[in-house]
């Protein structure tokens, strides 16, 4: 049984905004080992936000732990997985060639291998679903796109290096008995819709920061999956019908609470 309803969870990339909201969502249910390539204390002290609205992580008290872990170093990752029940890999490096393959591809290998070697029950991997790649093989023109659609990253450094990492985790799931979920994200935004934003339209494949964090709680608690590797769109249902988001509801019991309905409604006088 891969369900993880309590116990210890290691988070890689906990210093980023998704790490921040995931920590908040999980802290009362699990003992967390929050890791990042940079000291989380320093991230907080220097208020290193990824954007104006991106949340900063909390500094949790014991028994939670914080550690500096470089996912490109297998031994550091293996040590971080020791004694854990599950792992969440939120690490990403988007646009720097020197590190993109090291973090997004090799890092995925190290996390999956360490999770399998340490006997973890479940790994939640993460990656992007690029809704618009500006090449003829993307899905920008399509509707009701399902979670399991093959990704077509083209030559985009970020998309391609993460795509390789996704395949690596799939292969570990299929061959090493590790249950892997991959949560695919695209856009994030604050929960609140400002009054002037009504009717301004929203980006398809968006989720609030808060809902993104909650999705990991549901991922850890979900029952056994149909296959060892399952991908999920983590996004709000939007009236444009661009993306199907029912798989997460069906298998995880999660759906976004924030649907940003006002963004799609005609402005009132």
């Amino acid at each position: 049984m891969a369900t993880v309803k309590s116990g210890k969870v290691v988070i890689f990339g906990a210093g980023g905004p998704v790490g921040a909201v995931t920590t908040t969502a999980l802290k009362d249910h699990y003992t967390l080992r929050c890791t990042d390539a940079m000291s989380i204390d320093r991230i907080v002290a220097e208020e290193r936000r990824q954007s104006d609205t991106a949340p900063l992580p909390e500094l949790l008290e014991a028994p939670h732990e914080r550690a500096v872990v470089d996912v490109t170093d297998y031994q550091q990752v293996r040590d971080a997985c020791e004694g854990m029940d599950a792992a969440i890999n939120l690490t990403v490096l988007r646009s720097v060639l020197d590190k993109a393959f090291a973090v997004n591809t090799v890092g995925a290998y190290n996390v999956a291998k360490a999770a399998a070697d340490a006997g973890l029950k479940r790994l939640i991997h993460t990656g992007p679903f690029h809704s618009r790649m500006s090449h003829p093989a993307d899905y920008w023109q399509d509707h009701q796109i399902p979670d399991d659609v093959p990704l077509h990253p083209g030559d985009d450094l970020y998309a391609l290096s993460k795509y390789l990492g996704g395949h690596i985790t799939r292969i570990f799931a299929e061959e090493r008995g590790l249950e892997v979920m991959t949560f695919l994200f695209c856009g994030f935004r604050p929960r609140q819709v400002q009054p002037g934003q009504r009717g301004s339209g929203g980006s398809a494949f968006t989720v609030s920061w808060e809902d993104s964090g909650e999705s990991f709680l549901y991922g850890l608690r979900a029952g056994d999956m149909p296959t060892p590797y399952e991908a999920f769109f983590i996004a709000a249902a939007t009236p444009d019908r661009k993306y199907r988001v029912d798989k997460a509801q069906r298998l995880l019991g999660w759906q976004a609470a924030d649907t940003f309905e006002e963004l799609y409604l005609r402005p009132t006088d």
Binding site: T72, D73, Y74, Q75, L97, A100, F101, A102, T105, V106, Y109, N110, A112, K113, A116, M133, H135, P136, A137, H152, P153, G154, D155, L157, L160, S161, Y163, L164, H167, I168, I171, F172, E175, R176
Partner: protein, 207 residues
């Protein structure tokens, strides 16, 4: 594999050998002017491909792994990032085709009773040496898919294992590469073309 192809192709083509070591590790025959380049670096890859009409990328067939901590990660990065940088350099230099030499061993996990062809999904093991050629395939396929380059993927066995196991003879390897230089990749409507090149063993009958 790379050195053998250099030696054998040099008779009919101008071959520009490139490797990541300071000196070639094997006899390159008539293929002279060995160029040492770290393909992880765009600044090194660009001059390495200058003047070429086609690139033959044999490194993923023999992805030698180093020793010590981090060797697996270094191998995976060298092959995945190196292939990405190489293809990007080729696209920038208006080179229209890359021939990737991958491994038939990607199908070792398929039960022997099946007749495997090149359309099957590879099944690498969760180990860096097994994953590395698959990473190179995915990089080439995805960049070819969006029209940036034509990619021919040739999955071969070991050169020195042709006696009843899943090996590829030098003659078969060279013939396949010669064909890959001129094959009409676009005839089927795609820029990704792949073939198994195996001389003996379980995969030979479907190659």
């Amino acid at each position: 594999m790379g050195a053998m192809l250099c030696r054998r192709l040099a008779g009919g083509h101008e071959v520009l050998p490139v490797g990541d070591s300071n000196e070639p590790g094997h006899d390159l025959g008539e293929a002279r002017d060995y160029h040492s380049a770290d393909l992880n670096l765009p600044s090194a890859a660009a001059p390495a491909v200058r003047g070429a009409d086609v690139i033959i990328h044999a490194q993923p067939h023999d992805p030698a792994m180093g020793e010590g901590p981090g060797a697996e990660g270094l191998l995976l990065e060298r092959i995945s990032r190196g292939t990405y940088v190489l293809v990007q350099a080729a696209v920038a230099a208006h080179i229209s085709r890359i021939i990737l030499i991958s491994q038939i061993g990607l199908f070792d996990a398929v039960p022997e009773e099946y007749v495997v062809n090149a359309g099957w999904q590879p099944r690498p093991q969760p180990e860096a040496e097994s994953l590395a050629p698959y990473m190179a395939e995915l990089v080439c396929r995805e960049i070819a898919r969006v029209g940036k380059i034509e990619a021919v993927n040739l999955r071969m066995g070991d050169l020195d294992r042709v006696d009843g196991v899943d090996g590829t003879s030098a003659d078969d390897a060279v013939a396949a590469v010669e064909k890959a230089l001129t094959v009409d990749v676009l005839a089927a409507g795609y820029r990704w073309y792949q073939q198994h090149v195996v001389s003996a063993g379980r995969f030979a009958d479907s190659a």
